[in-house]
């Protein structure tokens, strides 16, 4: 049985194709101004990669903030349920899944079958999410992918207030004016994000094992800050940004079985 999951995120669209519960293909495209088209592109790419045609796919489940835009989807599922499903599939011991994406951070509590039992989403500001790192990298004149490694070189902690992206940026500027070294500032940025995300997780209740997914999970600087803040180990899959799409593809499997 072949199924697919399409995750229409705020910044990129991700597609995962599954065959008998194994990942056959993964692909990604920038959402841009036309997320529906981006989804079609990513889907086509994934089909080619898998060497199959669209008629081979029994069921497509869409998720993500733009899920209603996926024209070829047979059903939809919330990002939170998709996260829970993927988290437990990747790590059967997972009971909490944290997803930090471009515009949103969320934490989901789940049972041993990967069914969500509770969730929280960050407040309406993107300071706890990926775009914050992008904005701050610009302020520091550092490439986005260099931010994490740079922050690990910091010798001490300095701090900024990440109540919002804009204020965060002005705090970063004050640190620059104080001639704080770049690694320290980079670390302060990740610490500030972790400061936003950890209280949210405490409100939910942190049940181990904790899995971290979403595009930001690839950033070593953020991972180090969040681990430090929570004082626990975080399980991170190989392709964390595909968790939503994977979860949707897994939900699609159950939906085929049900029919």
């Amino acid at each position: 049985m072949i199924t697919a999951g399409v995750d229409l995120g705020t910044q990129s669209v991700k597609v995962v194709i599954l065959k008998h519960g194994q990942v056959l293909a993964r692909s990604k495209a920038f959402s841009g101004f036309d997320p529906a088209r981006a989804a079609e592109q990513a889907f086509g790419q994934a089909l080619r990669q898998a060497g199959i045609s669209s008629s081979d796919v029994l069921h497509v489940t869409a998720t993500g903030s733009g899920m209603d835009l996926a024209s070829n989807a047979n059903s939809t599922v919330s990002m939170m349920s998709a996260d829970a499903k993927a988290g437990v599939y990747l790590f059967p011991t997972a009971r909490t899944v944290v997803d930090v994406g471009a515009e949103e951070a969320r934490a989901v509590k789940c049972d041993d079958k990967g069914v969500m039992v509770d969730f929280v989403v960050n407040e309406r500001c993107a300071a706890g999410a990926g775009t914050f790192i992008e904005a701050m990298a610009r302020a520091l004149e550092v490439k986005l992918e260099e931010m994490g490694p740079l922050s690990l070189k910091a010798e001490r902690a300095s701090s900024i207030n990440a109540s919002c992206v804009i204020f965060g940026e002005s705090d970063v500027v004050s640190l620059i004016h104080r001639q704080e070294p770049k690694p320290e500032i980079a670390r302060a940025i990740f610490d500030a994000m972790a400061d936003r995300i950890s209280p949210m997780m405490h409100r939910l209740g942190i049940t181990p094992d904790v899995v971290l997914v979403g595009g930001v999970a690839k950033d070593v600087g953020f991972v180090a800050s969040l681990k430090r803040k929570l004082g626990i180990e975080l399980l991170i899959p190989e392709y964390p940004e595909y968790a939503g799409a994977l979860g949707a593809a897994l939900v699609a499997v159950n939906r085929v079985k049900k029919v």
Partner: protein, 442 residues
């Protein structure tokens, strides 16, 4: 130099031209939205009882505005109130008309930002904004306002509104269990009674007060009957019930009671015929938290009942809906003293406002929420808070802990007076409903 008595303590000058422009545009937007909401409510239930039509009509403020204007011309006074601590019976007994003036207009909150910081509760900012441009017919037509000093927002709002009208502030004791509280509150009520008598020129007599109490007792009975119906399989959508409840805040009470009784009649018949408003399997949701005020602030109930999967609002614990009327004034003997005591007790002791605390916190609210969850067979609770609404926001963890122990899912939904966040709110509500349905296909 301005005359000092005309000097405003808070309010800023705003040109007549701007006032008129803003009032026209905000009223037009709101009128359009109101009509849309009603249309969507009609569509949501194919066999929506004809008796709902009255409430659709009274939802248009202009209708009631005309009636109030006519009443005022005939010499009647209109008395506005903010919190539910204003004893309606005293207003009615003085032949005056009670009307609630809290604002639900989203766009007006942006105007309030000129006077108070954006961190302040949007309902307060919106009420200030509404006053700045004369947006709310009820606020404009009020000859005086009664303000219960409950939260910080309401306390300062009464000061701000006193730039325009007499505001009778009532200090609400925050510890209702202490013996002094009730006697203090009774004194507050007696002071208010004199103020009402002075404004209206009407003496509140024993027989007038008795009739007023009987009138609200009958309203409470109708109100309870409606909520009782909602315990069973769905014969009314939650938004419809909420509109009925909320209309009590501005409608003529006698007429509201008759129309609600007629609606209940129709709903009971509907239940006998098993003609359900939506599938009886629809997850049953309760909302609690910050008041949701018609016309604009109808966003969350709409999202819940139009979501995929759909939810059904079966109950709420909101001071803009089910807290309004649930408790009757219980009188033993119809003496003046006994009646006044009964009114004082009803408004203070029965309230589940989060402004209260005790050794065991705000236990009345927590217990009442638990009770509702059981009696109305609630599957999940949406805890709704607008930014800046401190008391409800802070009480969340208390409520969540208790609900967690009962394995009742609860979700904290925070928002603002804005239409722009409907997308993210919908995502959250749908994820919550998905969780409640615990669908086997996930």
């Amino acid at each position: 130099m301005k005359n000092p008595s005309e000097e405003k303590k808070y309010m800023l000058d705003i040109s007549q031209k701007e006032i008129e422009e803003l009032r026209t545009t905000i009223r037009a937007t709101s009128k359009k939205m109101t009509a849309e909401y009603i249309e969507r409510m009609r569509k949501a239930d194919k066999n929506r009882p004809e008796a709902m039509r009255y409430f659709d009509e009274i939802a248009d403020f202009e209708k009631r505005e005309k009636e109030l204007l006519a009443a005022k011309e005939s010499g009647k006074k209109v008395i506005g109130y903010m919190c539910l601590f204003a004893p309606i019976e005293l207003i009615l007994a003085a032949d005056a008309i009670p009307v609630r003036v809290n604002s639900g207009w989203y766009d007006a909150s942006k105007l309030g930002d000129r006077v108070v910081p954006v961190e302040v509760c949007p309902m307060v900012r919106s009420t200030i904004g509404a006053k700045m441009i004369g947006l709310s017919p009820y606020l404009e037509l009020s000859d005086a306002l009664i303000s219960g000093l409950t939260c910080d927002g309401m306390t300062k709002l009464s000061e701000i509104l006193s730039d325009y009208k007499p505001v009778w502030a009532m200090a609400v004791p925050r510890l209702k269990d202490s013996t002094q509280s009730l006697s203090f509150w009774r004194e507050e009520m007696k002071t208010l009674m004199k103020q009402i008598e002075a404004l209206t020129g009407n003496k509140i007599t024993r027989s007038k007060l008795k009739s007023a109490i009987e009138l609200t007792q009958r309203a409470t009975k109708a109100f309870r009957r409606l909520q009782e119906i909602r315990k069973g399989n769905p014969v009314i959508m939650g938004r419809d019930a909420m509109l009925v409840n909320q209309a009590y805040m501005w409608d003529d009470i006698k007429r509201w009671t008759e129309k609600t009784e007629a609606l209940c009649e129709a709903l009971e018949e509907r239940a006998r015929q098993k003609s359900w408003a939506c599938s009886p399997d629809t997850p049953r949701v309760m909302v609690t938290g910050t008041p949701m005020i018609w016309p604009d602030n109808w966003k969350v109930p709409s999202i819940i009942e139009e979501a995929n999967p759909q939810g059904l609002l079966v109950a709420d614990e909101l001071c803009s809906s089910e807290r309004l009327l649930y408790d009757p004034v219980g009188v033993d003997e119809w003496t003046m003293d006994d009646m006044l005591n009964a009114i004082a007790e009803r408004y203070l002791m029965a309230s589940t406002c989060p402004c209260f605390t005790s050794e065991d916190g705000n236990k009345d609210r927590v217990n009442w929420i638990l009770n509702k969850v059981k009696e109305w067979k609630v599957n999940g609770v949406i805890y709704y808070v607008v930014r800046g609404c401190m008391l409800y926001a802070m009480e969340y963890m208390r409520v969540k802990k208790v609900l967690d122990r009962m394995s009742v899912p609860v979700y904290y939904l925070d928002t603002e007076y804005t239409r722009e966040d409907v997308g993210p709110l919908k995502t959250r509500v749908e994820a919550f409903l998905e969780m409640l349905t615990a669908r086997v296909d996930i």
